[in-house]
């Protein structure tokens, strides 16, 4: 870890001002710090000042005021809310269960107690070439993506490169289908819809999100999604990133899906919306197993797997179907299928 100064601003505005301060060569924000400390230890980033926003609250907040609130038909999550608090929130569990399910078994209990909502959305990819200090990949200014000809078991099947990372956040796809919005200060914008928070590598391979220098996420809002569900296929049940994940939002007319929105995780460099699956699910009964399988199979149309990740083509439809069943209140149906 390089040496750095540690700054504790009192407000998000102070943090944004520090980010833009030309006296610092590389100021970085720290939320929970799980991803940042990892980067520091690996020597992947060498800031001269770490700006701690972990414990910042909105200006009106008093000590102990709730991190998750609901008003005007919107759910609001403060940037520094931990994943554990999201998973445990009564508001989230009742009004947008997909968010709670997405983070409930992310990482480990220890990580969920520290990692923050905003930090989860803005964490860097887990690609082992990116994480390897001596590997000068595209994302780090190098000339090639080593995953293309290398070990690409965990890489993208959508997005068409030139960098084949998958976005590591479980929360991002779930928040995307709930019409999530990131609220920011320090720049020209005040709100960034989740669907516009991320960009594909073709636009800028060095970054994953559209935040401008100096922009700081203060909180998130989203719409209630009472009929929603999340399902991830993982190699390990603890401290692992999904092989594929699916977040599903639905409107049900009895057992029939009248409207659906699906966003996949771990298959593309951004949360991957699947509008064709949305259309295929419409009108299908959640009790119609064959119908659900047909609709979910549409998910992998247009996928371009690499040498070692073709298995994701088989997993993705399964993950979506199970997320549909969980959203429909039929989690037991996911335990006996293949």
């Amino acid at each position: 870890m390089n040496r750095f100064a540690f700054a504790q601003p009192r407000t998000f505005q102070e943090a944004a001002t520090m980010l833009a301060d030309k006296r610092f060569s590389l100021p970085v924000l720290k939320g929970g710090g799980i991803d940042l400390v990892d980067h520091l230890k690996e020597g992947l980033t060498e800031p001269d000042v770490v700006i701690n926003v972990r414990r910042l609250r909105p200006g009106w907040a008093t000590a102990g005021s709730p991190q998750i609130t609901e008003s005007g038909g919107l759910i609001r999550i403060e940037a520094g809310t931990t994943l554990a608090d999201i998973a445990a929130s009564e508001i989230i569990r009742a009004k947008a269960p997909v968010l709670a399910q997405a983070v409930e078994y992310a990482a480990s209990p220890q990580v969920r107690n520290v990692a923050t909502a905003a930090g989860n959305l803005l964490q860097r990819p887990r690609c082992w070439y990116y994480r390897h200090r001596q590997t000068e990949c595209l994302k780090k200014g190098g000339m090639k993506c080593f995953a293309v000809d290398g070990e690409n078991k965990y890489h993208a099947i959508f997005g068409d490169g030139p960098c084949f990372i998958v976005h590591p956040s479980n929360l991002a796809p779930a928040l995307t289908i709930c019409d999530g919005v990131a609220h920011v200060i320090g720049g020209k914008r005040e709100q960034i819809p989740l669907a516009e928070l991320y960009h594909l590598p073709a636009r800028d391979v060095r970054s994953e999100n559209t935040l401008e220098p100096g922009e700081v996420v203060t909180h998130l809002t989203c719409s209630p999604a009472p009929v929603s569900g999340f399902y991830a296929v993982k190699e390990k049940q603890s401290f692992d990133w999904p092989l594929v994940a699916a977040s599903v939002w639905m409107r049900l007319d009895g057992a029939r899906i009248s409207e659906a929105r699906v966003c996949a995780g771990a298959v593309a460099p951004v949360p991957w919306l699947l509008p064709r699956v949305d259309g295929a699910l419409r009108g299908v009964s959640v009790d119609d197993d064959a119908g659900l399988r047909r609709a979910c199979a549409v998910a992998v149309e247009g996928a371009r797997p690499l040498a070692d990740n073709k298995y994701k083509l088989a997993l993705l439809p399964v993950a979506i179907r199970r997320a549909v069943l969980i959203a429909a209140g039929k989690p037991q149906a996911t335990e006996v299928d293949a």
């Binding site: 990892d38 230890k41 001269d48 554990a84 480990s108 209990p109 220890q110 990580v111 107690n113 520290v114």
Partner: protein, 245 residues
């Protein structure tokens, strides 16, 4: 002077222990009068001059009070470092001065500066749980928190679980009774994680126990005995047989 940075760093940064003015450091070894492996390794460095205690509280105090009093005097963010600064951490109920750089993790502050070696360093990436401690009642991995980010928080390590008269925590007693360890290196992390669970869930189910301990790894594979230990520590009958079924 050892070249290994893991050994070199405590030598160079040992003032923290001196500032406390407690031989062996708070909660650390050395009380038995013998020379521990750790104290032997670092004797070479204790001659470093302790910097003035007067400066000790300053940077730390400002940083800690900063969030609680947003309208307090002065403007702009509080800053520490990059050089070492004297801070105070609340560890096991004791106000504990320590001199650290901002780039020091809580685990390094505990183990290298304060000789509190209960929390173990294994993966140093938050993936194994061996360094688990409680910060403000929450289970965290000390290797992934910066020490300066813990100013103002209540830190409880495995050294702080036993009561003042030395009576072990029920979790510790049941780990012993159920032989819930083999090499023992992961044990402090599992004990703290188990205590964190029982603090919020006094009568956990087996599934809840497994989930609560899922951030800890035991390479010897003594999980079934640990699950039994936690069950009995919570007043429930052990259910796991030796095969882990």
């Amino acid at each position: 002077m050892p070249e290994d940075p893991k050994l070199h760093r405590p030598v160079a940064r040992n003032e923290g222990t001196r500032l406390v003015g407690e031989p062996g450091g708070p909660g650390g070894p050395g009380g038995a009068g013998g020379v521990s492996r750790r104290s032997f390794i670092k004797t070479v460095g204790v001659s470093a001059a302790a910097s003035s205690l007067a400066a000790a509280a300053q940077g730390a105090g400002v940083l800690g009070a900063h969030l609680d009093e947003p309208e307090a005097k002065g403007s702009g963010p509080a800053m520490l470092g990059p050089e070492a600064a004297n801070i105070t951490l609340n560890i096991n109920g004791k106000s504990t001065p320590v001199r650290v750089e901002p780039a020091t993790t809580l685990l390094e502050a505990l183990r290298l500066h304060l000789s509190m070696t209960g929390a173990k360093e294994v993966c140093d990436r938050g993936a194994c749980g061996a360094c688990s401690v409680l910060v403000d009642g929450r289970l965290v991995t000390a290797c992934m928190l910066l020490a300066v980010d813990c100013i103002g928080s209540k830190i409880v390590t495995v050294e702080g679980l036993a009561s003042a008269d030395g009576k072990l925590d029920p979790v510790q007693e049941m780990f012993i009774k159920h032989d819930a360890l083999q090499c023992g290196f992961c044990t402090p992390g599992f004990v703290v994680a188990s205590r964190a669970l029982l603090n919020t869930t006094p009568k956990p189910t087996l599934t809840q126990i497994k989930r609560a301990l899922s951030g800890n790894i035991c390479r010897c594979g003594t999980y079934s005995n640990m699950f039994n230990a936690v069950l009995e520590a919570s007043g429930q009958a052990p259910v796991m047989d030796q095969k882990g079924a």
